[in-house]
Amino acid sequence: MNGHLVKDPYNIVITGVGGQGNVMASRVLSNMLVRKGFKVTIGETFGMSQRGGSVMSHIRVSPTAVWSPQIPKGTADLIVALEPIEAIRVLADYGNPTVKILVNLRAIYPVGVITGEDEYPSTTVIRETVMALAAQARFLDATDEAIRLGNPILGNIVMIGAVAGMKVLPIDRELFEAVIRDGMPAARVEANLRAFAIGEANVA
């Protein structure tokens, strides 16, 4: 096996809102890790949550064992948030003083905020809150980058690129390419590679 983990299991939470490609992101990342020889368990909640609700994937990475598809509270090692307040929502449950966190700053407003009933915290508040609680925090505008690439949905891949850029997991561009070439029409591979590269460069 190439590369090692700081912990067994290494716990990753990928969070976002239905429609952001959360499931796809967790699958791509996990497949990369399976190729590296790890045992990976993904726990996902979807179904009704596809429709505007929060979507969360728990990824457990271990050299040897299958772990529960639900991460115990307070034990996330890495949080990848495709949406800013989802970062905070997940921190509240799974945060701990050593957690690292990557946040896409593009907000998707909950219905309550759209209707003016609830308040959405400002980017400054979100940044400060996250930084005060995480051992390492990185912020990027993954959706904006993806829109520039021509498709906002690529935001999830920009984020995966950024995870690679953080160098907390034994994954890289070659591994990414191998995984997506396997499961994706060739025509879409190029855009995905570019999205990954942008994410990687953004946090490197």
């Binding site: 429609g19 699958r27 791509v28 996990s30 497949n31 399976v34 045992k39 990976v40 368990t41 993904i42 726990g43 996902e44 909640t45 979807f46 179904g47 009704m48 949550s49 429709r51 505007g52 609700g53 929060s54 299958v66 772990w67 529960s68 598809p69 639900q70 991460i71 115990p72 307070g74 307040i85 905070i88 929502r89 921190l91 509240a92 449950d93 945060g95 701990n96 003083p97 998707i108 407003y109 909950p110 219905v111 309550g112 905020v113 759209i114 209707t115 003016g116 609830d118 308040e119 959405y120 915290p121 508040v125 809150t129 005060a132 609680l133 959706t143 906002p152 995984v179 396997d182 499961g183």
Partner: protein
């Protein structure tokens, strides 16, 4: 990345629990698979449909679970291995047939896979299918990880052939929708011709007619076979013990709770003091194995989700054998150690084990914890609602406007599908939908309400029903309403697909689960044939929908309105905007008297935003699906639709 034909034996892949189950069936040589979509079970049939091939594997989305089970049973009678798949509620639907099927017995291996949903993550109940195994006296297998999901499903066919009866494999959401490493096994050569041998005497299990009589004799035989299965379970590798030989605490568990239990012991560092007896064969539990493990510990905790199914069995066995193994201290549901509702997780199990062993589960430093607690105030909740561009939002808007005009307190009986959101989150259905039960029940309930006029009920009654639900269970209820002249307005929300669960085919479409052309069964024609007048409309045509509804509400008897518009997420629509929608700020009345934010406050499509600073509505281009419906509701004409360029 998902399971396909190209992958080779021996490959280690990341598979979803449901894919692992499908793979197990494929490795067992399944020939016929039938199911009805329902989260969290749908991916099993979906995966199998990718492997379908004429004469080798037939896959169908049946109209409902009972029919699915009948279709699968026929294949078994003809000597083929068959699978039927459903979510927990489906077993209720199929149970009448299941009772007779388990009485008659099967021939080719037949496996029933049910996916339960503890905690109702995507259901409106957390009903359990495990109890059906006991009720129907058939074996129950429960996988605890992905590898086992595949292996168990494969073995279930062998077991079914050994006992000549259905075998039930039960998964849960956290297994079906979780993923993990699975090593692929070989796919067998498909051989064997379908033939139903039925010329022999009733007593001949191979060549007689397949019926459940003579009842007592067949029942006796069924129980004998079940005892045979129990003997096999004693040695089954699916039952395993891990931990010290004489643990302080014995955990008896199954399914995904096995993983939670392991994690709990790891969190508490209690592996040295606690043993886990993980059962893969949970009905009937193997008595000898259980006796051996019970003898080794004084304290016993049963870890399972929702009702005490294992716990009851374990306690009965322990009572029967108490003279040999001594009196035990039991922890589980009945004493409140674990909750009898909702799903479990590692933290709940760790807390339970910690209480029994006197260990505090680890937690983050108190000071840090306080900061985390403060976060909740910062995070607005995410209420669920219909998708941007969803035709159901438009339909319910039309219904609301018609009912408010009608002014007699009319209401909608809701049903199962995406549109259940209208009942679950009142604001999403504009406070019109007031009941929600099982598939098709909205129509049945409406049929009942529709007879209460002579009792003084003046409220008009509506029932809504999706296209898939219509075929599943609404038809008998609608026939009932017609025959009994119930006063109801029945609205079929036809979005051309089983959208809730991911666009599985159904009889209203011209394609089947295997992608072949299929004759479409027309809802309108069916309704007319049973004698109901039918109007077909487009929910996006607001005025027309509203006026039609108001007219129908005035008429007696059963009236049918079909609101047809494909789902915003349907493959044909997703990502394609009909209109580029924008808000003309100079016209927008915002929160002033004259509008007061109709679009963002009441209509609540996620594509519309309220800009607090400018006090104007906005369109979020990324989220807006471009349906253009909101332009028609804005009182100021501020929402503008421009024809989107066809790409």
């Amino acid at each position: 990345m998902s399971l396909d034909r190209e992958q080779k034996e021996g490959a280690e892949l990341l598979l979803m629990g449901n894919e692992a189950i499908a793979r197990g069936a494929l490795e067992a040589g399944v020939r016929v698979a039938a199911g009805y979509p329902g989260t969290p079970s749908s991916e099993i049939i979906e995966t199998l449909s990718r492997f379908s091939e004429a004469g080798k594997l037939y896959v169908e989305w049946s109209t409902n679970e009972k029919v699915a089970m009948e279709v699968a049973a026929a294949a078994s009678f003809a000597g083929l291995r068959s699978l039927c798949v459903m979510k927990q509620n489906g077993v209720n639907v199929a149970s009448d047939f299941l009772l007779h099927l388990t009485g008659s017995g099967t021939r080719g291996g037949m496996v029933l896979v049910t996916c339960d949903d503890p905690g109702a993550l995507s259901s409106v109940n957390e009903g359990e299918s495990r109890h059906f195994a006991r009720l129907m006296e058939i074996p129950l297998l429960e996988p605890s990880d992905f590898r086992e999901a595949k292996e168990m499903t494969r073995w279930a066919f062998t077991l079914s052939e050994a006992i000549r009866n259905v075998v039930m494999v039960r998964s849960v959401t956290r297994m079906s929708h979780a993923s993990g490493n699975v090593v692929l096994g070989a796919l067998p050569e498909i051989a064997g011709k379908a033939a139903f041998c039925c010329d022999g005497p009733v007593s001949d299990p191979d060549c007689g007619p397949v019926i459940s009589t003579p009842v007592v004799a067949k029942h006796r035989l069924q129980q004998e076979k079940l005892r045979g299965a129990t003997t096999l379970f004693e040695e089954s590798p699916f039952n395993a013990y891990e931990g010290p030989e004489d643990p302080e605490l014995l955990i008896i568990t199954s399914s995904v709770c096995t993983l939670y239990s392991r994690e709990a012991l790891s969190l508490l560092r209690a592996e040295g003091r606690t043993g886990i007896l993980k059962l893969g064969t949970t009905w009937p539990v193997p008595p000898a194995l259980l006796k051996k493990r019970l003898a080794s510990a004084k304290k016993v905790l049963i870890v399972e989700e929702v009702l005490p199914f294992l716990e009851d069995q374990v306690k009965i066995l322990a009572a029967e054998q108490a003279h040999e193994i001594g009196i035990k201290e039991f922890y589980g549901k009945n004493d409140g150690t674990l909750p009898m509702v909702g799903e479990l997780n590692p933290d709940l199990v760790a807390a339970a084990v910690g209480r029994i062993l006197g260990i505090d589960p680890p937690s983050v430093p108190a000071e840090y914890r306080e900061k985390l607690t403060a976060l909740t105030a910062l995070v607005p909740k995410r209420e669920q609602t219909f998708c941007p561009g969803c035709p159901h939002r438009a339909s319910f808007w039309g219904i609301r406007e018609a009912l408010q005009r009608d002014h007699r307190g009319g209401f909608v009986c809701g049903d199962i599908g995406c549109y259940a959101m209208a009942s679950l989150f009142p604001a999403a259905g504009f406070h019109t939908a007031k009941t929600l039960h099982s598939m098709g029940s909205g129509t049945g309930i409406a049929s009942g309400f529709g007879k209460l006029g002579p009792f003084g009920m003046e409220q008009p009654v509506l029932a809504v029903c999706g296209d898939s639900t219509f075929y599943h269970a609404a038809i008998p209820a609608l026939i009932n309403a017609v025959h009994h002249r119930a006063d109801i307005t029945f609205i079929a929300l036809d979005n051309s697909g089983t959208a809730m669960t991911g666009f599985q085919s159904h009889p209203g479409l011209e394609v089947n689960a295997m992608g072949e052309a299929a004759p479409m069964v027309d809802i309108a024609a069916l309704c007319r044939a049973i004698g109901a007048p039918v109007v077909v409309g487009d929910p996006f045509a607001l005025t027309e929908t509203r006026e039609t509804l108001n007219r129908l509400l005035e008429e007696p008897g059963v009236k049918v309105l079909i609101l047809k518009q494909s789902c915003a997420l349907s493959p044909g629509k997703k990502g394609k905007k009909t209109f580029l929608v924008r808000v003309d700020e100079t016209l927008c009345r915002g929160d002033a008297c004259g509008c007061n934010r109709l679009c963002t406050r009441i209509f609540r499509c996620p594509g519309l935003l309220w800009n607090r600073d400018r006090k104007k509505a906005e369109i979020d281009e990324v989220i807006c699906a471009g349906c253009g419906f909101c332009a028609g509701i804005c009182p100021a004409g501020a929402i503008r639709n421009e024809e989107a360029a066809k790409s």
